[in-house]
């Protein structure tokens, strides 16, 4: 396994990155960033992807991965959940208003955007992957590392909630 030492894009920090990791990221960076946008909004998507990849690529599981693309999607979902948790604590401390509707969603059908923003990250992940590229439940399950039944349940509950909100 070859290793290259380069200058990362963050504070000019010297980093040690496995070359295959760089290649894997280059291949999937666009779809991962798009996925992150669906989870946390466009203004925070880059941070979430960058943190997820930094965390993943020094981990033991990365070296053992048989499906690197799926692992990267799961890492972004994890980072999005951590992001929501941290933001909620911060908002609570600062006694600000509800976090709903603050995802930087585009102003198209705002009631739909607000309803999607009210879903949990896992539900949002399933909704995004299902509707972005018309992925079937099995493919979404493989990407997120869950069973097909779990995907169907997430999607069913998300649709149920959206139907309630949207009337």
């Amino acid at each position: 396994m070859s290793v290259r030492i380069g200058v990362g894009g963050y504070l000019g920090l010297m980093t040690v990155i496995d070359e295959t990791a760089v290649d894997a990221y280059d291949r999937h960076a666009q779809e991962l960033t798009r996925f992150a946008t669906g989870l946390v909004g466009s203004s925070d998507a880059q941070d979430v992807v960058a943190d997820a990849m930094a965390r993943l690529m020094v981990s033991r599981v990365w070296g053992e991965a048989t499906n690197q693309r799926a692992l990267m999607f799961r890492a972004v979902l994890y980072e999005a959940r951590m992001f929501h948790r941290a933001r909620k604590r911060r908002l609570f401390r600062e006694a600000r208003a509800s976090v709903r509707g603050t995802y930087g969603m585009p102003e198209v059908e705002p009631e739909v955007a607000a309803a999607v923003a009210g879903l949990s990250p896992r539900q949002r992940a399933v909704v995004f992957l299902t509707y972005w590229d018309d992925l079937d439940a099995r493919t979404v399950a493989d990407l997120l590392g869950v069973s097909e039944g779990t995907v169907r349940r997430h999607l069913g509950r998300a649709r149920e909630r959206l139907r309630e909100v949207l009337g």
Partner: protein, 469 residues
């Protein structure tokens, strides 16, 4: 395609179009939202190289004392999920041989390093004593678990029937809200149904409430039935989907009322020294790799001999002819008992759930709980004693743990899944502790019938239950 699908597709694609350019890849491990401090970050980058050399040397020469290698020096900072969990067991027991009546508490402090696969929880008891466990691999299915100190929480029990326990007695380490979905565990999304209204957990945090209610029965050694009522609650953070608090109440009519409550009081990422996972001074308590190979048996798929329902266990569709007809059909069609004796519960109302006992010519008895659902008909909601649950292997496949049945040499399992009813058989002659069901994961089985056959192929007994919401 309906209107909701179309609106969602439009929205998702619109959101996707707004995605920014991908960020550059970096290999540090400092969250990007923290204030930039060049000095510490450069120092951390130096550590990466040092750690690499250290691990390399240890991999070549190995560890000579049998203890696991700590990845990095004891002072190496590692980022972990850190949780404080309050655990309470409340038991009101009125059975014979009652043990553990009253309230018992402990507090768990958990450190989880999913990247390196190491997990520690420390229980602190009211008297100040502690019990530590360190698990390697996965918190739920560790390959090894090390422990020190003794579990002190008394498990409430009615005779031999345990009704709760100390969370530090098994090989697994407690952790809530895993970073990735685990195929090995069922959670509120699989089991619970959302309860309408505004809810808060015991710490006053706003939450969604998911609930699962199971009504069934237990059987005493003398054959007496008693009603069981079990309620699982999950208070869930609406935004993150994290479980904030969960409880399980188990009520056995005129015998026990036990509630286990788990509150995730705090959950955050923090940096700690790697020495927190040092197992020096611990005893090896579990070696999962060896155990699973020795004790697990893989069942063989077979053609299902009946069709299970998804809400009620059997039949599918429900039978409007009534509970006695359901019991008789079950005896003939599922168990192969051609001339069953059917004994109804004499005290039950015509339209209420009822217990029915069936018996074959050889004297084998089986009790079933049969309930109506409107005009659709009647179906079974519990078969036999609630002894065989569904679990999971470390690879995520569903497993069941057979119970000892005198004379049984073979087990047959039917499960309803999204792909219809599936069936398997396995040999019991070596007394396997776990039987792995290939091709389904734990969350996929909705109802289950497990039957036991003797060496002539006759069914001796069975049990069954319902698992989905």
């Amino acid at each position: 395609m309906n209107d909701l699908d179309e609106r969602l597709r439009t929205l998702v694609r619109t959101i996707g179009e707004t995605a920014p350019e991908p960020p550059p890849l970096r290999a540090d491990h400092e969250p990007s939202r923290r204030p930039a401090r060049l000095g510490p970050l450069v120092a951390f980058a130096s550590f990466v190289v040092v750690i690499g050399l250290f691990v390399g040397v240890r991999m070549i020469f190995g560890s000579t004392d049998g203890t696991p290698v700590i990845d990095g020096s004891p002072s190496t900072p590692v980022v972990v999920r850190h949780q404080i969990i309050d655990y309470t067991l409340t038991a009101d027991l009125s059975c014979d041989q009652a043990v553990g009546t009253g309230t018992a508490t402990l507090q768990l402090e958990v450190w989880a390093d999913f990247e390196k696969g190491r997990f520690r929880h420390q229980a602190t008891y009211p008297d100040g004593s502690t019990r530590d466990q360190i698990a390697l691999g996965d918190p739920d299915f560790p390959t090894q678990t090390f422990g020190r100190g003794e579990p002190l929480l008394v498990s409430p029990a009615c005779g031999d029937t345990l009704l709760g326990g100390d969370p530090t007695t098994g090989p697994s380490v407690t952790f809530y809200n895993r970073p990735f979905e685990s195929p090995n565990r069922l959670g509120y999304e699989e089991l619970g149904t959302i309860v309408a209204g505004e809810h808060t957990d015991s710490l006053g945090r706003p939450a969604l409430l998911y609930r699962q209610i199971i009504d069934g029965f237990g059987v005493l050694d003398d054959g007496t039935d008693y009603a069981l009522h079990q309620v699982s609650d999950w208070y869930v953070d609406e935004t993150s989907g994290d479980v904030l608090e969960t409880s399980f109440t188990n009520q056995g009519q005129d015998r026990f009322d036990v509630t286990r409550t788990i509150v995730v009081a705090s959950d955050e990422e923090t940096s700690v020294g790697a020495s927190i996972f040092d197992t020096v001074g611990y005893q090896l308590e579990w070696d999962g790799d060896d155990s699973e190979q020795r004790l697990g048996v893989e069942a063989q798929p077979v053609q299902p001999s009946t069709t299970l329902g998804t809400d009620y266990i059997w039949p599918d569709p429900l039978d409007p002819a009534g509970p006695l007809a359901v019991a008789e059909r079950f005896a003939r069609e599922v168990l192969g008992w051609d001339t069953p004796t059917i004994t109804p519960d004499p005290d039950v109302a015509d339209d209420a759930p009822t217990w029915v006992t069936i018996e074959d010519d050889a004297g084998h008895q089986l009790t079933m709980l049969i309930a109506p659902r409107g005009e659709e008909g009647w179906g079974t909601v519990q078969i036999g004693q609630p002894t065989t649950g569904i679990g999971a292997s470390s690879l995520g496949l569903a497993t069941i743990s057979p119970v000892p049945v005198p004379g049984a040499t073979q087990i047959t399992i039917h499960a309803s899944t999204l792909n219809g009813t599936l069936a398997w058989q396995a040999d019991l002659t070596d007394n396997p502790i776990n039987i792995v069901l290939p091709s389904i994961q734990i969350g996929e089985a909705m109802t289950l019938i497990v039957s036991y056959q003797d060496e002539t192929g006759n069914t001796v007994t069975a049990n069954g239950g319902q698992f989905g919401p």
